[in-house]
Symmetry: C2
Subunit: 151 residues, 2 copies
């Protein structure tokens, strides 16, 4: 098994196909990592996601520096992983955020219909304890395995 570094374009491809990431944040030098659903926006070079208000959101409001890991896992010999360093940015209900919020909802709904009930609620702001946010991508690196033999 040989491990290759991914180019930025390869990293973007892994992010485009992914729907579940592991989001790490930290507070007072204590890290915290949880799985999150996401969608990648190549136009804005960011990841969109949403979450109930809880530990993760509270910590990211305090310290917006995050790290996100996305995998493309076929089996233990065939996988790719991308690690993103980025910044949390909450997308509020205010009029100035409407365009961005619509962009996020559009991408969520485009990705898969199972987003729709959640996205609809977000659009209508029925759930005041749910926040939409994006992760600005500052840098990303990735690795992919390839088998030495191709037969």
């Amino acid at each position: 098994m040989i491990i290759h570094e991914l180019t930025p374009a390869d990293c973007a491809e892994v992010l485009s196909r992914g729907s579940v990431a592991r989001l790490a944040c930290c507070r007072m030098n204590q890290p915290y990592v949880v799985p999150v659903s996401f969608v990648y926006d190549p136009r804005q070079v960011c990841l969109f996601s949403f979450s109930a208000i809880g530990k993760k959101v509270e910590w990211m409001r305090t310290n917006p520096s995050v790290c996100v890991e996305v995998e493309d896992f076929e089996d233990r010999f065939n996988w790719a992983t991308v690690v993103v360093f980025g910044r949390y940015d909450e997308i509020g209900d205010a009029p100035k955020h409407q365009e961005l919020r619509q962009r996020a909802l559009h991408l969520f709904s485009e990705r898969s219909r199972w987003w729709l009930p959640g996205a609809a609620k977000l659009g209508a702001s029925e759930h005041q304890n749910v926040v939409v946010y994006r992760i600005h991508i500052d840098s990303m690196t990735g690795r992919r395995t390839t088998r030495p033999e191709t037969t």
Copy 2:
């Protein structure tokens, strides 16, 4: 889809079955998360793993507070996730670490034969740039989905 909190015993079961985790560490309030192979030791209430010396090990040597996330993912409606807060503890080559090192190697080899070449190298200390470590588990929480209907 209903989400339940897991008991400590349920969390331990998820860890026992898992082999890949996402390990988050941080330095100067910048988190970092990467996938790692691991094995859970219920006797010592820790996770064992090994790694080439690089960013992850260097950061954990500086700040041993870590967070580890393990998933048991069947499909998007059936999954469990466990989040561990713990402390990094490097297991060196010194005689005082031999028993612990052997315990780790035993668990690695028991888990799956694909560990063996790596484990053998670790046992012989052929690779000076590979470290064996454990994560002491300070606390853990978990969640599992269940379908509302069971038909």
